[in-house]
Symmetry: C3
Amino acid sequence: MKVENMSLHPLGTASAPVPELLCIFGTGDLGRSLGLRLLQSGYRVVYGSRRPNSCGPLPEGAQVTSHEAAAQLADLVFICVHREHYGFLETLAPHLQGKVLVDLSNNLKKGIYPEANAAYLQRLVPGAAVVKGLNTLSAWALQNGLLAGKQVYLCGNSAEAKQTVAEMATKLGLTVLDRGSLSAARELEDFPLQLFPEWRLPLCVAAGLLAFFYFYLLIRDVIYAYVEQGKDISFRIIVTLANKVFPIVSLIMLSLCYLPGVIAAFLQLYRGTKYRRFPDWLDRWMLCRKQMGLVALALAFLHAIYTFIIPLRYNVRHKLISLVVDEMKRNKTTPFYFDNTEAWGTDAFFALGILGFFLYVLLGLTSLPSVGGTLSWREFSFVQSKLGHLTLCICTAHGYLYGWDRFIRVSTYKWYTPPGYMLCLIVPSVVLVLKALILLPCVDRALTRIRQGWERTPPEPELGMNKATNL
Amino acid sequence: MKVENMSLHPLGTASAPVPELLCIFGTGDLGRSLGLRLLQSGYRVVYGSRRPNSCGPLPEGAQVTSHEAAAQLADLVFICVHREHYGFLETLAPHLQGKVLVDLSNNLKKGIYPEANAAYLQRLVPGAAVVKGLNTLSAWALQNGLLAGKQVYLCGNSAEAKQTVAEMATKLGLTVLDRGSLSAARELEDFPLQLFPEWRLPLCVAAGLLAFFYFYLLIRDVIYAYVEQGKDISFRIIVTLANKVFPIVSLIMLSLCYLPGVIAAFLQLYRGTKYRRFPDWLDRWMLCRKQMGLVALALAFLHAIYTFIIPLRYNVRHKLISLVVDEMKRNKTTPFYFDNTEAWGTDAFFALGILGFFLYVLLGLTSLPSVGGTLSWREFSFVQSKLGHLTLCICTAHGYLYGWDRFIRVSTYKWYTPPGYMLCLIVPSVVLVLKALILLPCVDRALTRIRQGWERTPPEPELGMNKATNL
Amino acid sequence: MKVENMSLHPLGTASAPVPELLCIFGTGDLGRSLGLRLLQSGYRVVYGSRRPNSCGPLPEGAQVTSHEAAAQLADLVFICVHREHYGFLETLAPHLQGKVLVDLSNNLKKGIYPEANAAYLQRLVPGAAVVKGLNTLSAWALQNGLLAGKQVYLCGNSAEAKQTVAEMATKLGLTVLDRGSLSAARELEDFPLQLFPEWRLPLCVAAGLLAFFYFYLLIRDVIYAYVEQGKDISFRIIVTLANKVFPIVSLIMLSLCYLPGVIAAFLQLYRGTKYRRFPDWLDRWMLCRKQMGLVALALAFLHAIYTFIIPLRYNVRHKLISLVVDEMKRNKTTPFYFDNTEAWGTDAFFALGILGFFLYVLLGLTSLPSVGGTLSWREFSFVQSKLGHLTLCICTAHGYLYGWDRFIRVSTYKWYTPPGYMLCLIVPSVVLVLKALILLPCVDRALTRIRQGWERTPPEPELGMNKATNL
C-alpha cells in the first residue's frame, strides 16, 4: 500500500521515468559518439556548441544549444574539445561553478605541454570538480558499442565527482578503475599515446640478433665464396641468408623466453626463499617473455614460408637441372644411387621442423587474450611450461639434425668460424640442460617447498617480537 | 546500534537471505538454460508449463507448476515460448496484470508477421509491462556461462519495468543498453537474424572483381592459346588462373581499403573544415574497410597456398622434365647457363611476396576483437595506418616485380589487351601516390590543423549571435 | 534541502571520501597483486604479515602490520595463504569473530585433503563467515588488470557475507556467479586444477584413430613392400605415412563432428517430439563437437605443411631425377608425353584440398571466443552448419579424387585390404547422405515443426487436468 502511494506521488513518478540530463561540450567525432552512447544507455543529452544552428549531424534525440545554456541545464559536463580550444572555458567559469567536468582530451604527442590537460582545465575553472578519464575510449569504439567490459581509468580530486562519473561509466558497460587524485592525469593522458612499450625490448633483442647473424653469415657465405673461390653468389643475400637467419634468431628468442624462468628457479634455490625480490633486470626480462615468444613465432612463420617457396626459386631449379645433366653425362647405365640414410635424415629433419612449428602456433594461439582467458591456471601452466619446453626441445633437435654430420667436417669451419646453426644451438642447449636439472626429483621437491612459502632460514624471532608488540 | 536493530527486524532478516523468485514460461532449451543461469546467480526460479509433471529435465533447484500458479508467485515473467504458441497468454491475462513480461522470442525469418512479437504480446496482455530484450542470447551461451560483459538490448514502454530487467541482467553479468520504447522491438528481434550485413558490400565487390578478372584471363590465356596457337591448355582454369586472379583481386581490395581514407583527407583539405559530413557513399565505404581488408587477407592466404603447391602439380613437373630433356639434347658439353639477374629478380619477387603476406597476417591478427581491444589509440593507428600502407607498398612492389621486363615486350599484349597484373597495379599505385602527397609536410600540417578543429572560414558571427541571445 | 544538510553533516562528509579498508593475510604474489588491484579500485588495504617489517615489496599506499592488528581494522579479510599454513588462524579466531573471510586458496593437486580448504578454514574459525571465491584469478591477471568482465564464482553459508564480497568483486570489474553454500567449495577449488576436461574425449578418439591407421598403413605399405618385393622403404614411416594418416583422421574427425547433429535430428523425427532427452552418450558427444572440429583442423594444418614440404624431400627429388634419366635413356626423339586428364585430375585434387583447408581455417577462426561472440545467432548457425557441411563435402570430394581411378584397380588391394583413403571416406559419405536426406523439403518441414515445439502425440489431457486443478 505504501509503495503504491509513493508511486502516485508527483515527484516520485516524475523522477523515475525522466532520465538524467548530461551535457557535452564539443560536437566533433568524440562528442557525437559519446552522445549517441549516452542516449542509448537511457540518458538525455544536451550539446554545448559554438554554433548551435550549424554544428553538423548530431545523434537523434539530443538537444543542442550554446555552451552557457547547456552548462546550466546539467550537473555533469563532458569536455570533448581539443586542449587548444580550452580558452573559452575560462569565460564560462561562473556557469560551471560546482559542476563536474569530465576531461576526455588527449594530445597528439607526449610532453608538448608543461601541465596535464586536466590540470590546465582545473586551473581555468577552479570552482568545478574536474575528473580526468574515459580518454582511452575511441570515438569508433563508442559508436560501435565495443565498450562492454572495457576498462577505463579515472582520477580527480573530488571523491564524489569521481563516484558520479564512475556510476555513469558503469551504466555504459565500462569497468572503472580509480587512479587517485588529479596529479595522475598526465599518466592517464599518456595511455593512448603508448606505442608498444612492452614490445621494445624483445624487438630490440631480435633486431640486434638478426643484424649480427646476417652479417656473420654474409661474411661466411657470400664474401668467403667470392674471396676464396671467386664465385659471385650475391643473389643469395635476399632469400637464402634470410632463411638461415630467421630460424637461428627464432630459436634463440624462444630459448630466451624460457631462460629467465630457469634462472629464477636457481636463484630461489640458492637463496632458499621466495620472499626476496628478483634483480630488476630479471623482473623486466620475465615481464616480456610473452612478447619474446611471439617474436620467435613470427620469425618461425617467416622461416616456414621461405622454406615452402624453395623449390620455386630459380637457382634451386637450376641446380636440379644441372644435377640431372651431370648425372646423365657421368653415368648412363647403372641406376641413380639412393642413399637410405640421407632419406631418413632429411625426413626426420623436416618432421621435427613441422612438429615444432605446429607447437609454436599452438603456443601463439593460447597467448591470444580471448583464448588464454578461458584456460584454468593448470591448463595455462601446462601449455606455457610443458608444451613450451617441448617446443624448445623439438626445435633444438631440428637444429642438431640440420648440422647432422657436418659438425665434425673440417670444411664446415670456413675461416675457422663455426657456422650459424652451431652458434644458435648454444643457448637452447643450456636452457634445456638447466631445465632438466630442475626436473630432477630432489631439486624439484626443494623448489616446490620454497614456492609454497617454506624458507631455509626461518624468520621466527621477528614474528614473535611483533606479536609481543601487538599484545 | 540502529543497524543492528534493523537486522534483527523480522522483515529485514527475511528479505536479505531469501532471494527473489522469478518465473519462466516455457521449458525448452532457452527456458532451461536461462533458469540454470538465474539459479546460479542466486535467484529462485519457478517454471510455468503446459504439463508440469512431464516437461523433461529442468535445472536442479527450480520448481515447476502450471502457468497460472507460476505467474502468481513472481513479479517478473520470462516468456521463453515461440510466438506461434502465445495464444494461451490471452487467457492468462488476468493473472499477469501488473507483472513485468520479458519477451525473449525470436522468429525464424524477417518480416513473417505484421507486428513485432513483443507488440503482439503487449496486445494480448495489455495490463502487463512488456519488455523486449535478452533475445540475442543463445541457450548455448547461457548454459556455458559465456555472458560476462556481453551486451544486450532492452526496450519497453515502462521505465520501471526496464529498470527491473536491467538490474537482473546486470546481476547475470550482462551489459544492458536501453533502446527506447516498445516500438524498437522489431529492430531488436531482427538482430539475431542478421546475416553479415557489413560483409555484403566487400563480398559483392570481391565477387565482381573475381568474376571479371577470371573471364578476362580465361580469354587472354586459354582461349587465346586455343585460337592462335591451337593448344589445349584448358586444365589451367582450375589452378593457374585461380592463382592469378586471387592475388590480383587481393591487391585491389587492399588498396580499396585505403582509398576512402585518402579521399576523405582530400575532401577535408578542399572544404577546409572537418565539420561537414562526408557523402553517404564515402561513409558507407569507410565503415566496411575492415571487412575489405579481411577479404583481401583471405585471398592472399589462398594465393600463398596455391603458390606453395605449384611444384607438386603435374604440368609443372612435366615442364621441368621436358626442360631437362631439351637441355640434354641441345647441349651436351657446356654447363647449363646460370642467369644471375634472373636469380636476383625471382628471389626479390618471392621475398617481397613473403614479407607482404607476413604483414597482411599481422594486420589480420590485430583486427581480432580481443587483440585490437588491448591496443592503445596510437598503437591501433600505427598498425592500421603505417603498417597497412607499408603492406600495400610491398605488395604493389611484388606486383611490379612480377611484371619485371614484360611491361615493354610486345608479346605481353595479346590481342592488344594488357595482362591482369598490369590492371591490378593501377588502383594501388594511385592510392600510394595520393598518400605520398598527403605526407608532404605542408599538406600534412594543414590536414592536422583541420582535424584539430581549425576551419578556413571561421563561423564567428553566429557564435556571437548565440551568445547575445543567451545573455 | 535535506540532501544538502546531510552532506554538511560531519559523518556524511567523512564517510564519502574515506574509502573502505580491507585486510589481506599473506604477502606472496597473490596477496600483493590483489592489494594493488584493490588500491587501484579505490579501497584502502592493510596487510597482515608474519613479519610486518621484512615482508618484501608491497604495493604503494598499503599498510602492513601483524595479523591480529590487521584483522581488527577491517571487516573483510582475504586469506592469501597456502592451506598448509592455515594453523595460525586458529589462534587468531577470537579476533576474526564476525568477520567475513574470503578464502582464495588453491591446492596443487586434486583430492590431497579430505575436506575443502574453505571448509577447513570455517572449522578453524567457526565465528567468521567464510566465503570461498576469486580463487580462479591468477596473480598475473590481477596485476595486469585483465579482470574486466571475467567471471568468478562464490560460495558460502552466509548470504550477507557473499553479498559483501560480490559487491567488492563487481567494483573490481568482475562478474560474480553465486554457486550456493560452502559445500560447493571443493568444486570451486577444483576449477583451477582442471586440465582440458572437454578435450579428453576428442583427443582420445583422435589418438586411437591415428594409431590404428598408422599401423594399418605401416603393414600395407612398408611391410608389404619388404615382404612381397624385398624393398626397404622404411624411411617412409616418418613423413610419407604421417602425411597419409593425418588427412585420413582429420576427415573422420570432421565428419564425427557433424554426425551427432544428424543422429539427433533423426531421433527427433522418430520420436516426434523434442521434449524427450537424448541418450547420455549423444549428449556428451554433442558437447565436444567444437573440440573435435579443432582437432580435425590441427591435423589438416599438419597435412598442409607436410604437403608443402614434399618437393624438398630427398626421395622425391631422387625420384624426379631418376624419372628424367629413365626418360632420356628410353626416348630421345619424341617429346615427353603430356597427359591432359592427369593434369586436370591433379589440379582439381589440389584445388579442392586448398579450398577445403581454407574453409577449415575459417571455421576455426569463428570458434575463437572473441570472434564467435560477435556473431548473431543466424550468422553462427550459418557458419557452423552451412559452411561446416560444405567443408565436409569439399574435403570428402578431395578424398574421392585422391582415389581417382585406383578404386577399380586390383593392385590397390594389397593383401586384399582396402587402402586407407577408402576407409576414411566411409563415415563422411554416410554423414553427407544422411544430411542430404534431412534437407529434403518434406523431412525438413517436419523437423522444423518439431523443433518449434510441435509434438506428434499432443499431451492435451494433462494440460487440461492441471488447469482444472488450479482453477
